[in-house]
């Protein structure tokens, strides 16, 4: 439960190694008795300086096994109310192999199907509590198909769409979903890739995300200028767009 300062007491991170999520955790207002539930794969030996500040429960979850993941989420919620869930897991996938059947299925099933199912489950749980916030880490890659990452992009678009639908369901019920649409972010996931224009680091993304969470914003871009850039890019005629889509 939030205290009178609006400090989060119990936080769940799906995608426990996410640089963005951990950077957000470092910055958000947490209660002195805050507890963190870190969910993801190969967390046993994963350490981070933040883990000295809070009790951290590491829960091994393979998000590709969505039914098992749901059971773990059930267990977390049955141990007490949750104030904030950061949904940060994703597979970027390989640009060269993106249309290979196995790769295609893996990216879509983890990034879209699993994430949509878990988002829906978590949202229902928060509605049952009648309080809570979700930060859904989406991407500007979902705003318009680009040649190099449209499979990743469509998976982000799909969950983004569902998150917006759930926002409408949540109206007046004290449960808020904030959709974060970062551009290219320098993280473990993107290391080695050529940076896109307006690339930023996870520190900057997390500062923007924390402000958005405080204000319970519906949608926020990181950097913020991307809201205008993406608006223009979505309107751009395809013959013009394909010249910049390299």
């Amino acid at each position: 439960m939030l205290n009178c300062f609006g400090e989060f007491q119990r936080i769940v991170i799906l995608g426990g190694k996410s640089d963005i999520a951990l950077s957000i955790l470092d910055k958000i207002a947490t209660a002195p008795d805050a507890e963190i539930f870190l969910c993801g794969r190969k967390l046993k030996d994963f350490s981070h300086p933040l883990f000295n500040q809070f009790p951290v429960h590491k829960i091994e979850i393979d998000f590709a096994q969505v039914e098992l993941a749901k059971l773990e989420i059930d267990k977390i919620f049955s141990s007490g109310d949750i104030d904030l869930v950061i949904i940060a897991f994703a597979i970027l996938g390989s640009e060269e192999l993106k249309l290979e059947p196995e790769e295609f299925k893996k990216v879509l099933s983890v990034n879209f199907l699993s994430q949509a199912i878990l988002l829906n489950q978590i949202n229902s749980k928060l509605l049952n509590q009648m309080h809570g916030q979700i930060l859904q880490i989406s991407s500007v890659a979902g705003m318009r198909p680009r040649r190099r990452n449209f499979v990743y992009g469509v998976s982000k678009f799909g969950v983004d769409f569902i998150a917006q639908g759930l926002q409408k369901e949540n109206l007046g019920k004290n449960v808020y979903i904030t959709i974060l649409r970062p551009g290219f972010v320098h993280t473990k996931m993107t290391s080695g890739l050529k940076a896109a224009p307006f690339a930023i680091d996870s520190e900057t993304v997390s500062r923007i995300a924390v402000k958005a969470l405080l204000k319970k914003k519906r949608i926020v871009y990181a950097p913020k200028i991307l809201s205008i850039i993406m608006f223009l890019l979505k309107l751009m005629p395809e013959p013009l767009f394909k010249r910049i889509d390299k």
């Binding site: 205290n3 009178c4 008795d33």
Partner: protein, 444 residues
């Protein structure tokens, strides 16, 4: 009806289904509304934080249980759990009776008074509310009504309900002892003091001379520690001025004003606090006679004064520390001075021995209560620092004023917490009684 609820501090908010219990305390109609989020009773919502709220569950208004039956022969009253102290005083004062223990506001229910084990200006002499509670009827989670007394078989659940923040059941009715009064007036003596040491010394002296004592502190600016100490005794009939005796020696006070509910304007600021504190410190003092309700319940003059803190609301930090740890009071005031935090309500009292309530707040020592406006980002770390000081001194915080304490500190502050949890588990195995505070502090 789904409602957005808040506590007196207007700082914690939550949404729950608001229902009303019937005047006889029957709950059958609710059985098809109860989900796993449970129920919490809610009286007049004068607790500062989230103890009378239940996000996602049912919050049960208790004011319909408002019967009051006074027995002048035995000097006792049987009162419905939803009746207020104000209603009780309106009936008992004209008949020459007054409750032994009343807090700064009479706008609280009897159920709330028990659930918080409230204390007042007479604690050093007369203890807390439960010291004068003869019996209560509790609606338990299995639907049965249990009669609880402070001694005997039912004493464990009695003392778990006292100070239990509504988490053991609904108090349908209580029988309390009243004291006889000759007039509805008190004679008051007030003295201005210049620093904390002088204040503590005068308060200690007044505790021997007066039934009711309290000190107001000015903690604005560089003056942290100066204040006004007040002591009062019931006025005997022979000492009442002729004019008042002729009018009515047992007259009631007609209370004050109420702002419209949209008047949520931040009037209480650093500047206005400084001005108020200056005026209050320098107000004319001396011996005087005052109507008892006006003296006991200064907070009731403006019914909804909490609106003056504006949209962000406020919190109250109240702690008690042993008498021998009085240096901690100096350290606490230094913390306020360091950060230049002002408060217009800083009240210091001394407590006598505590009651047997497992989660009852009062225990022998000094208690300080400070109102703090929210919105200043430094307040959170300030109160965490104060928590450490209070804990090291062997003190504790008041759950009725709490809106942010850490559940990790609770077992250290309340050593009988485990006993209380066992009784809670026994009397409420399906965890029916839940509140936002209960979840936050892992009490339910």
């Amino acid at each position: 009806m789904i409602s957005k609820l808040t506590g007196w501090g207007r700082s914690n908010h939550s949404i729950s289904t608001l229902k009303t219990i019937s005047s006889e305390g029957k709950m059958e109609i609710l059985s098809n509304c109860i989900n796993e989020r449970g129920i919490i009773p809610r009286g007049l919502a004068r607790s500062y934080g989230d103890s009378a709220m239940n996000s996602g569950g049912i919050t049960l208004q208790t004011q319909a249980m408002d019967k009051i039956q006074l027995d002048p022969e035995s000097g006792t009253a049987v009162i419905g759990g939803g009746a207020s102290l104000m209603q009780l005083e309106r009936i008992c004062i004209p008949l020459g009776f007054f409750p032994f223990v009343v807090p700064g506001t009479s706008r609280i229910t009897i159920g709330g008074a028990i659930a918080s084990d409230i204390h007042g200006k007479s604690h050093h002499n007369e203890g807390s509310f439960s010291n004068h509670l003869l019996e209560m009827k509790l609606l338990a989670s299995d639907g049965t009504v249990r009669i609880l007394k402070p001694n005997g078989e039912s004493s464990k659940l009695f003392w778990a309900t006292v100070g239990g923040m509504g988490l053991t059941g609904i108090i349908i009715e209580a029988t309390i002892r009243l004291k006889k009064i000759e007039t509805s007036f008190v004679e008051i003596n007030e003295r201005r003091v210049n620093d904390l040491d002088q204040l503590l010394s005068v308060l200690t002296k007044y505790n021997k001379e007066y039934l009711y004592t309290v000190a107001w502190l000015d903690i604005s600016g560089k003056y942290a520690g100066r204040g006004v100490v007040s002591g009062a005794n019931h006025l005997k009939l022979e000492n009442l001025p002729e004019s008042s005796r002729a009018k009515n020696p047992l007259g009631l006070k007609t209370f004050g004003v109420k702002f419209p509910s949209f008047f949520v304007i931040k009037v209480i600021t650093r500047t206005t606090i400084g001005v108020f504190n200056f005026c209050w410190f320098w107000k004319p003092l001396g011996k005087k006679i005052q109507q008892i309700q006006a003296y006991m319940h200064p907070l009731d003059f403006v019914e909804n004064w909490n609106l003056l803190y504006g949209k962000k609301g406020f919190m109250q930090y109240q702690f008690v520390i042993p008498f021998e740890a009085k240096d901690v009071l100096h350290d606490v005031l230094k913390e306020f001075q360091k950060l230049r935090i002002n408060s217009f309500l800083a009240v210091l009292k001394s407590f006598g021995e505590g009651s047997s309530g497992f989660l009852s707040f009062p225990k022998s020592g000094w208690t300080l209560a400070v109102d703090l406006p929210l919105g200043d980002p430094r307040i959170s770390s300030l109160v965490q620092t104060l928590d450490r000081m209070v804990l090291e001194a062997g003190g504790r915080l008041y759950l009725t004023k709490d809106s942010r304490m850490s559940h990790c500190d609770l077992p250290l502050m309340y050593p009988e917490l485990d006993v209380w949890k066992e009784i809670k588990k026994e009397c409420d195995p399906n965890n029916l009684w839940q509140s936002d505070q209960g979840r936050r502090l892992k009490l339910c």
